[in-house]
Structures are given as structure tokens and as C-alpha cells.
């Protein structure tokens, strides 16, 4: 048995050696590539970054930098016959088809991103703002470092503003949404109608307004390139956003009439156009983290054109759509915001300072429908668009001070307020930029409201994603402008403010519904395709 012992010793020796080796490798490997959530939420500096960068996320949700697609801006502008594009990208062609098709709420459809991208991104922003606020509640103090100044007051107020923007955009674009904040336990929220979501947004704006009132702090500008959010700016921004929320939530003219316009006036009077006016704006960095993708496409002549409906607004002699490949005679709008003169050798009219330029050639395939055609394109933000080499580097607005003025004007009219003041607010851009006939306090309510909606189509063109669509669904159907039925443009297509079968809000994205185990549904569509309610 000598040999057996030797073998045993050998085997045992090797076994011991290997077991010694076996204990050494550490299997608890960390992931060094991304910040661990638990650790990040315990760090004041990370909590500060989390809240601060959620503003960027929220901006992307609205203006479409996520995936570098102008979602939902372009599809909704097409649905509003504000912009036109015959290419299949970004849901523009599908949702612009005539007769209208039902919004394709399928998790298999590429166009499904029209709803899912902003939906996911805005809830991402909301989740980050909520996490930041709950960390603050747990006593974490946002600051650049352990010995640096405590930034709790401004980051908290800023987080409220972002909560409002996220819930607000959900309430404007979608039919339903989750209302979640820092106090909502994970997994407990349920879907609520858009009215409840909008109401929740208002409470967040109110909290932001209250938190900023009388304060003198500033949110670090690293989070908000292009503008500085002082306490005053945060408060006035929240006021303007709250006014927008109330005014844009309606899906029909009737709902619009039922809005508490007195409340709109209250908010707008403290908004961004009062005192020293400012635009809500960002400065791009080439689209790396900052850039307004909506404008990058909206002002790209070879892709997106101004819808002929808007061209007709500016020149009532124009048809509301093309009926053949032959263009109508060149439009000559009275409004100075439109290019004028004769085309150059290449067929362009690029009048400096004008917002809308002309190009005689149309890039679209006529087989896709001549109703997509237009010879006009928007150029006010062209330096931010893919038209230039150094795109998305300039500073561009997403809410103009003028928008707040128009909200004040509309609220004044709808509350039987000071019509002369309303007229002068409208005239700021109508006359100041468009050189059109001034309105007065004696102008008719129709003329004043119609002029407001005209300004909203022309002056606010390509600013905030969704704005044109929010307006078209709520516009008074009886409004006329220069003799045109601008509130009922599509009479001959069986619709009224929006073309027949155009969804008035988007459904909760299919993939989300599937995850929640709720049957997939959708809105819109006109014969002969499946038809669903518009809202």
C-alpha cells in the first residue's frame, strides 16, 4: 500500500494547492462603467447632477434629441397641417396621409416611436427629478463637493419645475398618464386621464413658483446652457408653463371655452414676457447633449416644408393644398416675415430677416400625394438646422416671450378684459415683425382671436414641439381670417379644425400597454381604413 499512500499524498498535495488558488479570485466584480444607483443617490454631487441633467432629458423629450429624431414635434406639426414632409421618417408621412390613417400604435411599427420616445424620455426625466427630491428629503444636500455651498433650495425648486414640465407634456400630448412624484411608492401608480395629469403638473408649477418666490439663488448654468435660471427666472418660467398648460390641455373648441381663462391670465401675467422679457432657450453643442432636433429638421428645406395651409393663411389667394404637381402662382404674402421678390437662378428666394423662404423645386415624390407639396420652407432657425455645416450650435428658443404675450392677449379677450391691451400685445409681432395692419381695442373678437391664431401659426412656428397641434385642436371653429374659415379649414375634407380622423391626442405607447397588460388601442383614421375615435 506504499504506492497508494504516495498517490494519496500527491493527489492531496495538488488538491490543497488548487484550493489555495481557488480562494483567491474575487468574484464580486464591480461595474466601473456606470454609476451605481445606490451610491449615486447618497452623494450630494451626484444628486445635484441628477436633478440638473434631468432638465436636459426633459428638453430632449420635447424637442427630440433622443435618438436624434424630431419626435413628437414633426409628426404633430404634420397632423396640424403646420409643416409637411412626404418622407417616411419620424412618422411624418404616415400621419400626414390624406385621408388620415389611425395613429399606428404598434410596438412593431417604426412610427410607434412618435409616442414612445417622448413618453419614455419624459418619464426618465421625471424619475430623475423624483429621485433627486427624495434624496433631498433623506437629507442629502446637493452641492458640488463636501465643502461646497449647499444648493438645496435652487435644486429643489428646479426639480419641481422639471416635474411640472414632464407631467405637463404628458398631459398635453397623451390621453392618459401616470402621476408620479417623489412620494409615490414604486409600482403603485395607475393611469389617469389627461385632465388629472395636467392638474398634477399645475401643482408642481405652483410648488416651483412658491419655492422661487423672493429668493436670490441661481441654478448652476452648467445645466442650462443658453440661459440662467435665477429664482426669478424659475418662477416666471413656471408661470408661463402653467399658463400654457391650462390653455393647451383642451382637445376641442368646447373644452377650450371651458378653460379657466382667468387663471391663465393670472399665470401669464407673471410669465416670461412681463418685466424684462426673455425666451426659454438653449444653446446647442452640435447635438452631443444639447441641440433642438425639431428645428434641425423643421428648417431643413430638402426635408421639411411649410404646409400649404399656413401659406394660404399668409396669402389667401393660395390654395389650401396642391391638387396637381403644377404649383399655383407664386404666393405674395403681405406679411414681411415671408420672402418676397423673384426667385434667383437656382429657384430660391432667401430674403434676409424673413422667417419663410421660397424654393421652386419640391423634393417629394408626387406618387406619395401632391397634398404634401409646398414651395415654402421655414428658415428662422436655419443656422441651427442640418442646412448648415455647424448645425445645432446656436442658441434657439423653445418658448418665445411672444407666446406668453399671446396667452395674455387670448386670456384678456376670453375674460372680456382689456381688448386694447390685447391688440397691442398681438401687434408686437404682427406689426413689429410682420408689418401687418395693426389691430385696435375696437377690433372684433373674431379678428382679435383669429389674429392670435395667425400669429401662433407664423410667429411661433417651429418653437415648442406640439404647439401647432395643441392649437389646431382647440381653435374656435367659427374663426375666420381674411375671409378664410381658419377654424374650419378642412370643411371639404369632412373635418373642422383638424382634418377628419386626425388624433387629438396620442395613445399610451403600445409597448407600455403591453407591459402593463392593457389592450392596445389607438385614435384617429378616416375611411376606408380602420377608424377609431379622434379622442
Amino acid at each position: 500500500m506504499n504506492l497508494r499512500n504516495r498517490i494519496g499524498a500527491l493527489a492531496g498535495g495538488i488538491g490543497v494547492l488548487m484550493l489555495a488558488g481557488a480562494c483567491n479570485p474575487d468574484l464580486n466584480v464591480t461595474n466601473p462603467n456606470q454609476p451605481d444607483v445606490a451610491r449615486a443617490l447618497a452623494s450630494g454631487s451626484d444628486v445635484r447632477s441628477l436633478i440638473g441633467s434631468s432638465y436636459n432629458t426633459m428638453f430632449q423629450a420635447m424637442q427630440g434629441l433622443t435618438d436624434n429624431e424630431p419626435l413628437p414635434g414633426l409628426a404633430t406639426a404634420v397632423m396640424a397641417d403646420n409643416m409637411t414632409m412626404a418622407y417616411g421618417n419620424f412618422g411624418a408621412r404616415f400621419n400626414g396621409q390624406e385621408p388620415r390613417l389611425a395613429y399606428n400604435n404598434s410596438s412593431a411599427a417604426g412610427d410607434g416611436r412618435v409616442a414612445s420616445t417622448p413618453y419614455n424620455t419624459l418619464y426618465g426625466a421625471l424619475g430623475a427629478a423624483n429621485d433627486g427630491l427624495s434624496a433631498i428629503k433623506r437629507g442629502i444636500k446637493p452641492a458640488t463637493g463636501k465643502t461646497a455651498a449647499d444648493e438645496t433650495p435652487q435644486m429643489q425648486a428646479f426639480a419641481y419645475l422639471i416635474q411640472g414640465m414632464a407631467l405637463g407634456f404628458e398631459g398635453l400630448v397623451f390621453d392618459k398618464g401616470f402621476v408620479v412624484d417623489e412620494d409615490t411608492p414604486v409600482g403603485t401608480a395607475v393611469l389617469q386621464p389627461y385632465t388629472a395629469v395636467s392638474a398634477a403638473a399645475l401643482t408642481k408649477y405652483d410648488k416651483a413658483i412658491a419655492a422661487a418666490a423672493g429668493k436670490s439663488w441661481t441654478v448652476a448654468t452648467e445645466f442650462t446652457p443658453g440661459m440662467t435660471f435665477t429664482a426669478d427666472v424659475v418662477g416666471r418660467t413656471a408661470n408661463t408653463m402653467a399658463a400654457r398648460q391650462l390653455a393647451y390641455t383642451p382637445r376641442t373648441a368646447a373644452e377650450n371655452a371651458a378653460v379657466n381663462w382667468g387663471k391663465v391670465l393670472q399665470y401669464a401675467e407673471k410669465g416670461i414676457s412681463t418685466g424684462s422679457p426673455f425666451d426659454l432657450q438653449i444653446k446647442g453643442d452640435g447635438g452631443n447633449t444639447w441641440g433642438d432636433t425639431f428645428k434641425a429638421f423643421a428648417d431643413l428645406e430638402s426635408w421639411v416644408r411649410t404646409d400649404q395651409r399656413v401659406v394660404q393663411l399668409a396669402d389667401p389667394t393660395q390654395p389650401v393644398v396642391y391638387t396637381s404637381v403644377t404649383p399655383p402662382p407664386q404666393a405674395v404674402p403681405a406679411d414681411r416675415r415671408w420672402a418676397r421678390g423673384t426667385p434667383d437662378a437656382d429657384g430660391f428666394i432667401k430674403t434676409p430677416g424673413a422667417d419663410f423662404w421660397f424654393y421652386k423645386d419640391i423634393p417629394y415624390d408626387p406618387a406619395r400625394g401632391v397634398y404634401f407639396f409646398s414651395q415654402w420652407y421655414h428658415a428662422r432657425y436655419i443656422t441651427h438646422s442640418y442646412e448648415v455645416d455647424d448645425y445645432m450650435l446656436t442658441t434657439v428658443p423653445y418658448v418665445l416671450a411672444a407666446e406668453n404675450d399671446l396667452l395674455i392677449a387670448e386670456a384678456l379677450i376670453r375674460t372680456n378684459g382689456d381688448k386694447a391691451r390685447a391688440a397691442s400685445l398681438i401687434n408686437k409681432t404682427r406689426v413689429g415683425r410682420g408689418n401687418l395692419t395693426p389691430l385696435t381695442g375696437g377690433s372684433s373678437t373674431n379678428d382679435l382671436l383669429a389674429a392670435i391664431f395667425y400669429e401662433r401659426d407664423i410667429e411661433l412656428f417651429a418653437t415648442g414641439a406640439g404647439q401647432a397641434w395643441f392649437d389646431r385642436r382647440r381653435i374656435d371653429t367659427s374663426l375666420t381670417y381674411n375671409g378664410l374659415p381658419i377654424g374650419n379649414t378642412w370643411g371639404f375634407r369632412g373635418g373642422n379644425s383638424l382634418q377628419k380622423g386626425t388624433p387629438r391626442h396620442l395613445p399610451v405607447p403600445a409597448r407600455e400597454l403591453e407591459t402593463l397588460g392593457i389592450p392596445v388601442y389607438t385614435y384617429g383614421g378616416a375611411s376606408p381604413n380602420p377608424v377609431f375615435p379622434d379622442m
Partner: protein
């Protein structure tokens, strides 16, 4: 810190088992037997094991390099009769009776090499090298004989059609791409996650097969699933492909042998996508197009695509722009065997240009060095080193997907010269195609990017294995191995500042961009194992215990300057600092495992294998760091017990085992995404994540009958528990987290596979044999712990598959166009509608609105079921069966070898055609030659079927095909001719051959190639602007001496 006691205990138990076999081995030596073992040519055969089985493992010896051996027999055996056996792997063992005398005796043996396929020797998944006859598990095998006629382009393609149950598919055909391999059925639901574990000369290869030269392969062994791959534990559920490169062991003793093989040829497309040769536009009396005021062509009122292009203006853009690319392979091998040293080295150079113009294609150089060195009589040392360096300028855009070269080429207007689209003297390859060209300019000029972009993907790969073997006793062997796989990859993607831009309707100058990425992967595995065997009477036992440590470190660094400030400087310093972007990742992965394999063989009749394995890995969630696996298999060689007329061999076998799949690195972590310093939420962590666990049961039968046929038939049933899924969460409910990786699915698979090898004619000057393999697999999602979801390959959002509980894997969902008026009645919205008054069926068999036939308003109508759902099953990618048929015919010096393979049934989603319907480029839209009443307006296709790219039944096509995958006609120069080439020295051979690869495909599929799948996954047969695989026709000359 993880305690790894159990792995240690397992290993120690194995060692104890090995040690116990020493009981039988103590003896005192007396009589000496010597002799020499030679092969048929009279050369000594080293490494032959000489044993007298009944005297136990202590009695015996091994032959030396010259074939001589010495063994001693105890004096107690004198006067007795014994069986003495000489055996060596690769040779048929020889036994004879001897009577032991008191004096020294001589016993010489002559061994013949085993040739028949069934006698192949298997080394993967077993305790010791085992003859295929004695296997209890399924191991696919491709040997030198099957590889020599048509050297494989890559190791994976060498498997195509040759091993039952193994499918190989070229997802992308571009040169340098590696085909995807799937063994039996899917083990996971994610895209591209069915790849088997790859082992090259014992090294766990983490970086694929792209850098390995097919000429260097000696054998490939495939373990097909958990029933056979349990020894590989948590990384083997999808099977194991083990590749052994050529070594010098078969060279003649003391001689240096040279082999050179040079192959030259061309690559070309076989099947072109049919293009539309007519148009729907109005023409002027002079034959030119009518152009509208808005610069576009004017459609005819009927929108029929049936007008001829003005004479001489139509171009077939595919045939005009795709090229016949050159392919060259130079290969040289030197091998040497002398005394205790085997040595083999090779060098090869491959150039494969592919079919795209303006690119150089794929260029690779490989060097290999294999060395075996005996150290005294008890130890060996081996090294295997493969070094590959390749450059490839097939750019990301020349490969696949939207925006790719094939996308814009297939959609290019047919009446434009893409070299000078705006006429001679204008910008070459201009991105701005003439506005009036048919169908607009949005897709750009496919040649521009090929001409302008400087792209290079440089891969440098080292696969090295070092092993030492120590045999303290005849029955005990220790092995120590260290293997490492290292990849250094550098990708340069440069577009110079000032090049012509393509983003607008007028030419402009681009700001340029520079993208530099490096990828550094370093994987190693170290193992130590002990093998003990003994023979007791008729019982032979082999036990192997192995302990292994694996480590992988991946570093990735990406930089992008999206705007350049300076022209012609491909350096990041030239980038605009405000647009510079950089990101990096680091991954460390560690795994420890131990296994014991026990093989028992009673009289070559009754065979049993037992496997136990334990893994611990950093990839498993922290709450589940360990996993156990087992394997149990047995076989009965019936023909050894009963003589069955006509049967030379009959074996039945059964096996059951488990194996796993490891989670990916990031699966378990709860993190924020961080991009350019901003944070956003990512996945919820999962501490409980386990490796997916596959359990497989297989039964099989092997038979050799009528002295000419070898048959294998296997049925496998498997299910994978806890397959990984990124389970989407309601972002809103989950506080912003998007998803979590979970063990969320159970996937079942059943495979029937078989192979038949027939030696039909075997004569001196004429032989013919064939091997037929066939497989039928079915796979199902048994359970899905999440909402049903849409899935597709990652490019273009082709989410045509719908995964849900109980659904078969690979079923295509989408809208189905109604073919009968009655079925429209299922739609609840049609309740009370007089359908016959409203609809009619057109000549294509589709339901359309009544009165729209032939008009621009004619559209197919989507079927809607009684629940209002229009998302229905429209196809299934799973073939009824797949098969391969390899034929070899030899006469005189000629050899004809042909390999056919194919599938019957199984559908493809032709996404390419759907896109082409929109742009009106596909020949199916052509209305010429149709009777007037059957003509369709283009809108029927470009709006109706195109359907905004929503998946629909129009684009589901039968993917059946038969492919002549390999064909060679070769001639080995006869001895008389070779005699005149004495300058080549002894052992000379000269072979010339004509070789074809993918020569001919018989199919009804309308795309480039029915062998389509996305992202290397057979469940995703979606054809979306892929680089087509091409045929190769080459001439080869091989000289050996």
C-alpha cells in the same frame, strides 16, 4: 470572498477516485517483453500503448519515437496465456495471444490507421480520447478527410452541411464576416445569442472565429447540447465547437515536409434582386420626360408602371455597379517530426475583395506555430500559437441596414449614371442625383460613401495554448494548460473636411468627422487536470478531474470628433473640441469551475459516462454565485453481444445532462446611464440573476451495416430554464427605470437528426461515397414571465416577431391581407355591413373595395379578427427540415467533391422588397405584359403593401433552397508524373483543383440569397439590405514534398 469548497471537494473526490485505481497496480516485474510497432509503411509508431489487460494497468508500456517498447511482466505470470494489445489513437488496436515464458521475448506489431468515419477518435467532452464507437454522447466530427477538398473560408463555414443538427448561416456576406452557428435549437430569446462556446486548441475563444484560417484546421468536434456538454458547465448550453489545428505528428519521422496551397479566383453575385425596368411617368412626344413646374416628373393618369425608359437610358444599377472581386489565398506549411519533437508551422495570406467597387476588401495574414516536445519518458510539453492580423475596409455603411450601400444601391434611380449623376464634367459620385430622376433623391448616391470614406478595421489576434503533461505512472496523467485569447482591434472611420456633402438638395462641403475606436480583449483560462485509468478484466475505467480558472478583461475606448477644423488630418487634434466625444468601458469577468468525468467501459459493450461540474462566476448575480451541472449517459453496443446478420455495428445510447448560459456583464448591475456627464436611469439591478439552465435528454442509435453504411439517428429534447430577457418595465411606474434583466423565459426544443455515410463503391481506382445529414427542429416558448412583446433584429426596427407564452420561436406576426370577403366578417366593425356589396376580390386574390380595381385607390384590406386585432400570424421561419449531402467520387487521380445543403420550408420576411415597393424599384411592380384589366396602379403597392413598413403578409416568402455549397474537381498527379519531379524530393504530391463555393442556389426566394438571417440569429430570418453572400470560383494548386 467566495468560498469554493464544494468545487474543491468535487475535485478532491475525483482525485480520490483516481487514487483508488492505484490499488490494483502494485506488482513486481520479472519477464521482459520488447518489440517494435510499425505502421503499414514500416515506420515506427510512437506513443502506442502496449498492455496485457488482465494483468491490470501496472503492466504495460509505451512505444518510443522509433516505435520500440519494453514491458515487464511479473514472474507469477510465467507459463500463463494472455491477450496482449497494442493501441494508439487513430489506429486500429491489435491484440494477440501470448504465453509468457521465463526468458525475454519479442512481440512486434503492425498497426493500420483507422479510416472509416465511425472510427474517428473524439477528445471533447470525454475523460480520455475515445473511439467514436465507444461514445455515449453526441459529438459531431469534421475530420481532415472532409476538409481537404474544399478548404473552408473560415472554420465555421467548414461545418455547413457536414454535421447533423448544426446550422451555419452567413448573416452578412461581406468578406471577413464570420457565419453564425446554431446547434440544434435556440437556447435563448435575445437576438444573436445562440452561439456555441468556441474552443481553439483548448483555448476558450472569446473573440470568435474571424481570425482563424480554415486551412489550419485538423479537426472540428461539436458537442451539441447539455446532454453532451455538461463538462463545460455554465457556458455550454448552446453547444461547444472545439477546433484542433494541424500538428506535426503525422509527418514522417526525421523528415521535413512542405505543403503549399495557392488559390486564385473571383467572387460574384449569383441571384440579383429583380429590378423594375419600366416607369409610370408621362413622356413628351420626343420621348423625354414631362417635367412639372416643381421640378418633378409627372405621373400618368393611370399610375401604371408600364412605360419604357427613353432608349438607352435604363441601367441595371446592381449589375452595373457590383463587381466580380478577386480572391487569393497563399498557404504554406512546414512540418517536422524528429525524435521527441513534433513541429508544424504555417503561414497564409488571404485577400478577399468582395463585390463592392472602390474598396479593397478583407486582407488577412496568419501565422501558426505548433510544437510538441517530449521531456524524458514521462512528460510532454506542447504549445500552439495562432497569430492573425487583418485589415478590412468594408465600412459600417457598406454592410447592412438603412443608410447602407445596399440600401441606396437597391433604391437608386434606374436612369442615372452613379459615377457622374449630373453628367460628364460635374462632381464625380455626386450625392445630389438629378431632381427629375425617377423617384427623388432621398437615398443618395451609394458610390459616394465608398469613394470618400477612409475606413479600416484592423484586428490583431493571438490565440496561444501551452500545455504540459506528466505521466508518473502508466495509469495516471496530469495535465496543466494555460490558454489565452487576445484581441487588439482598432477601427478608424474618417471623412475628411471639405468633402462633398449629401444632406441637402444642393452639394455642399461637409465638416468631416473622425471616429477612432479601440477594443482590447484579453481572456485566459488555466486548468489543471488529472486523468487516471485502470483496466480490471473487461472493465476499463477512466476518470478525469479538472479544475479551471477563467478570466476575461475587456477594454473599449471610443472617440468621435463630429466636426473637423482642419482638413486632411485624420487625428483627433483636428476635431472641433466642442464636438469631441469619448467613452470607454472596462469589464472584468472571473469564473472558477471544477469537474469530474468518469467513463466506464465494460468489454467495449457496455459504456457509461458520468459528469459532475460546479461553476462560480462573477457574472452570476451576487445572491446566486454558484451553479451545478451533471451529465449521465450510457450506451450498449448490441452488436458486440449479438451477431446480427448484415450489421457490423449496432449501438443504442441515451444521455441526459445540464449545461448553462452565463449572463452578460452588465445584466446584474443597477446603474444610471451616464452620457457626457449627464445621468439617466438604466436597468434595475438583479442580484438574483442565475445562469440559464438547459436540461437535455437524447437517445440515439448508431449502426454500420452491409459493410458500407454508417447510420446515426438522434432525438433530442431540451428545455432552457431561466433564459435571459430584458424585461421592460413601465418606466413611469418603475420611477424611470426602463427594464430589468431577468431569468424570465423557459424555452423548449426538440430535434431529430440523422446522418448516413455510404461507401457505395470502393475499388482501387474508383470510389464513391456520400454523407447525408438531416435535421428537423421545433422550438417553443414554454413560459414567458413578462408581457408578450415584439422583437426583431436591431437594424431598422423590423419587429416582425411576437413573443408570448406558448408561442413557437420564429413565428412572424403582422397584418395579413384578406383573401376572401367572408373573412372580413370577423371584424367587429363590419357587423351589419353588406360585405359583398362593398368588396370584391382582385386578380391577385386580394380583397379590395368594389370599384377600385385598376384605379389609384385600389388597396389590399387588412384582416381583423373578432377581437379587433389585426396583428396575426403571417409566417414561420422554421424549416420542415435542413439537410446536407456531401459526395466524393474518385477515379484514377481525379476527385470530384460536391456538397449540397439546404432547407425545406421556413419563411423569410423580405424587408428589402417592402422598402423597394415604396421607392418603386422592385420588378414585382412592373405592369408590362399584364392584360389591361389586371393592371394595378403604383399606389396599390407603394402605399397599400408598403404599409409604412408595418410588417404584412405580402413580404413573407418561402425560404426553401438547395445550395451547391462546395464543389471541387481535383487531380492528384500520378506516380509516373511525380517521378519526373524528383527535384521535389521524397513524399512529393501535386494536386490541381477547380473549387467553387456557393456556386448555385435553387430557390423561389426573390431576394439575393435565401440564407438570410439578421444579426447571426436563425430565428430572425429578416432580409433587410444585407450584403449578399456571393459565389466564389477559384483555381488551386497544391504542392507537397
Amino acid at each position: 470572498m467566495i468560498s469554493f469548497n464544494r468545487v474543491g471537494r468535487l475535485f478532491a473526490a475525483g482525485l480520490a477516485l483516481i487514487a483508488s485505481s492505484a490499488i490494483a497496480s502494485s506488482a513486481q516485474a520479472q519477464t521482459v517483453i520488447t518489440g517494435r510497432v510499425t505502421d503499414a509503411a514500416g515506420n515506427g509508431v510512437p506513443g502506442v500503448n502496449i498492455v496485457i489487460p488482465t494483468l491490470g494497468p501496472g503492466v504495460g508500456g509505451n512505444t518510443k519515437v522509433d516505435g520500440t517498447y519494453t514491458m515487464t511482466v511479473p514472474s507469477s505470470s510465467v507459463g500463463q496465456n494472455f491477450v496482449i494489445t497494442a493501441r494508439r489513437i487513430g489506429f486500429a488496436p491489435v491484440s494477440r495471444n501470448i504465453t509468457i515464458g521465463a526468458a525475454a521475448a519479442t512481440q512486434n506489431f503492425q498497426l493500420s490507421q483507422e479510416a472509416s468515419k465511425i472510427d474517428d477518435v473524439i477528445v471533447t467532452g470525454v475523460a480520455e480520447a475515445t473511439s467514436a464507437k465507444n461514445l455515449t454522447i453526441s459529438v459531431g466530427h469534421v475530420g481532415a478527410a472532409q476538409l481537404k477538398d474544399v478548404p473552408a473560408i473560415s472554420p465555421a463555414s467548414a461545418l455547413a452541411g457536414k454535421v447533423a443538427g448544426v446550422r451555419v448561416s452567413f448573416t452578412q456576406g461581406q468578406p471577413g464576416s464570420t457565419p453564425a452557428i446554431r446547434v440544434r435549437t435556440s437556447t435563448n430569446l435575445g437576438v444573436g445569442t445562440q452561439s456555441p462556446l468556441i474552443i481553439i486548441d483548448g483555448v476558450i475563444a472569446q473573440n470568435g472565429l474571424a481570425d482563424i484560417n480554415g486551412n489550419d484546421i485538423e479537426t472540428i468536434e461539436v458537442l451539441k447540447g447539455a446532454a453532451s456538454s455538461s463538462t463545460y458547465g455554465s457556458s455550454a448550453a448552446a453547444g461547444v465547437v472545439s477546433i484542433t489545428t494541424k500538428r506535426g505528428k503525422d509527418s514522417p519521422e526525421g523528415k521535413v515536409s512542405f505543403l503549399t496551397r495557392n488559390e486564385f479566383g473571383t467572387a460574384s453575385v449569383e441571384h440579383y434582386v429583380p429590378l423594375l425596368e419600366h416607369h409610370p411617368y408621362q413622356l413628351n412626344p420626343d420621348g423625354s420626360f414631362v417635367i412639372s413646374g416643381s421640378g418633378t416628373r409627372v405621373l400618368k393618369a393611370d399610375h401604371y408602371i408600364d412605360a419604357n425608359f427613353p432608349a438607352g437610358t435604363y441601367r441595371d444599377q446592381l449589375k452595373e455597379n457590383l463587381i466580380d472581386g478577386r480572391t487569393v489565398t497563399n498557404y504554406a506549411q512546414i512540418a517536422l517530426r524528429r525524435d521527441n519533437t513534433n513541429f508544424s508551422t504555417s503561414f497564409s495570406r488571404d485577400t478577399d475583395r468582395g463585390i463592392l467597387p472602390l474598396l479593397r476588401g478583407f486582407r488577412r495574414q496568419n501565422a501558426r506555430l505548433n510544437l510538441d516536445q517530449g521531456l524524458g519518458s514521462k512528460a510532454d510539453f506542447s504549445a500552439a500559437l495562432t497569430y492573425g492580423i487583418s485589415n478590412n475596409d468594408q465600412t459600417p455603411t457598406s454592410r447592412a441596414g438603412s443608410g447602407s450601400t445596399f440600401f441606396s444601391l437597391l433604391q437608386a434611380p434606374p436612369d442615372v449614371d452613379l459615377t457622374y449623376p449630373n453628367g460628364p464634367g460635374t462632381t464625380k459620385y455626386s450625392p445630389v442625383l438629378p431632381k427629375a430622376a425617377a423617384g427623388g433623391t432621398a437615398r443618395g448616391n451609394p458610390l459616394l460613401d465608398l469613394a470618400q470614406r477612409s475606413y479600416n478595421d484592423r484586428r490583431e489576434r493571438i490565440v496561444a495554448a501551452f500545455s504540459a503533461r506528466y505521466r508518473p505512472f502508466g495509469w495516471l496523467t496530469f495535465d496543466g494548460n494555460y490558454g489565452t485569447d487576445r484581441l487588439n482591434q482598432r477601427e478608424t472611420n474618417f471623412l475628411d473636411r471639405g468633402l462633398v456633402g449629401s444632406n441637402t438638395s444642393t452639394e455642399n462641403e461637409t465638416p468631416g468627422s473622425l471616429n477612432l475606436n479601440t477594443n482590447n480583449n484579453q481572456a485566459s483560462n488555466s486548468l489543471i487536470s488529472a486523468l487516471g485509468n485502470f483496466t480490471l478484466g473487461q472493465l476499463h475505467s477512466a476518470t478525469r478531474a479538472t479544475y479551471q480558472y477563467e478570466e476575461e478583461r475587456n477594454n473599449n475606448f471610443n472617440t468621435l470628433a463630429s466636426t473637423l477644423k482642419v482638413a486632411s488630418v485624420p487625428d483627433l487634434q483636428a476635431g472641433d473640441p466642442t464636438t469631441l466625444n469619448a467613452n470607454s468601458t472596462i469589464q472584468t469577468i472571473r469564473t472558477i469551475n471544477g469537474n469530474v468525468v468518469q467513463n466506464l467501459n465494460y468489454g467495449d459493450r457496455y459504456l457509461v459516462q458520468l459528469v459532475g461540474r460546479r461553476d462560480a462566476s462573477s457574472l452570476f448575480g451576487s445572491a446566486n454565485r454558484r451553479a451545478n451541472y451533471y451529465g449521465l449517459s450510457g450506451a450498449w453496443r448490441i452488436s458486440e453481444d449479438f451477431k446480427i446478420p448484415g450489421f457490423q455495428e449496432l449501438k443504442i445510447r441515451a444521455a441526459k445532462g445540464t449545461a448553462g448560459l452565463r449572463p452578460n456583464f452588465e445584466y446584474q448591475y443597477e446603474t444610471y446611464s451616464v452620457f457626457a456627464g449627464t445621468l439617466s436611469k438604466n436597468t434595475v439591478g438583479n442580484k438574483n440573476l442565475e445562469p440559464a439552465l438547459q436540461t437535455e435528454t437524447e437517445v440515439g442509435l448508431n449502426a454500420t451495416f452491409l459493410n458500407r453504411f454508417d447510420l446515426e439517428y438522434v432525438k433530442s429534447d431540451r428545455h432552457t430554464e431561466g433564459a435571459f430577457l430584458l424585461v421592460p418595465l413601465s418606466l413611469a411606474q418603475a420611477g424611470g427605470f426602463t427594464a430589468q434583466y431577468q431569468n424570465a423565459a423557459r424555452i423548449g426544443g426538440r430535434t431529430f437528426e440523422g446522418s448516413l455515410n455510404a461507401r457505395v463503391i470502393e475499388r482501387q481506382n474508383l470510389s464513391y461515397n456520400f454523407t447525408l445529414t438531416a435535421e428537423r427542429s421545433r422550438q417553443k416558448i414554454d413560459q414567458l414571465n413578462r408581457a408578450a412583446f415584439r422583437v426583431g433584429s436591431t437594424s431598422q426596427n423590423q419587429n416582425v416577431f411576437y413573443y408570448r407564452n406558448g408561442e413557437q420561436l420564429g413565428v412572424i406576426y403582422g397584418q395579413r391581407w384578406a383573401r376572401s370577403i367572408a373573412e372580413l366578417g370577423d371584424n367587429p366593425l363590419n357587423a351589419g355591413v353588406d360585405l359583398n356589396a362593398k368588396y370584391e376580390v382582385n386578380d391577385d386574390g386580394y380583397v379590395v373595395l368594389k370599384g377600385t380595381r385598376g384605379k389609384t385607390t385600389e388597396r389590399p384590406i387588412a384582416y381583423v379578427d373578432s377581437k379587433g386585432n389585426n396583428n396575426v400570424k403571417i409566417g414561420d421561419v422554421n424549416p420542415d427540415y435542413t439537410f446536407g449531402l456531401a459526395n466524393t467520387l474518385r477515379f484514377a487521380g481525379f476527385t470530384v467533391y460536391g456538397l449540397l445543403d439546404g432547407t425545406r420550408g421556413g419563411q423569410i420576411y423580405n424587408f428589402t422588397r417592402q422598402w423597394m415597393y415604396q421607392d418603386r424599384r422592385h420588378a414585382f411592380l412592373d405592369q408590362t405584359g399584364k392584360p389591361a384589366e389586371n393592371k394595378k396602379a403604383l399606389d396599390y403597392y407603394s402605399i397599400g403593401f408598403y404599409n409604412a413598413l408595418e410588417p404584412n403578409s405580402e413580404f413573407v416568402e418561402d425560404g426553401s433552397y438547395v445550395k451547391l455549397r462546395e464543389l471541387s474537381l481535383s487531380y492528384n498527379f500520378g506516380q509516373s508524373l511525380l517521378n519526373s519531379m524528383r527535384f521535389l524530393g521524397v513524399g512529393r504530391s501535386v494536386k490541381v483543383a477547380l473549387i467553387g463555393r456557393n456556386l448555385k442556389t435553387w430557390t423561389n426566394y426573390s431576394g439575393f440569397d435565401p440564407e438570410s438571417s439578421s444579426n447571426g440569429d436563425f430565428n430572425f430570418r429578416i432580409d433587410g439590405f444585407r450584403y449578399p453572400s456571393f459565389r466564389q470560383l477559384t483555381g488551386q494548386i497544391e504542392i507537397g514534398f
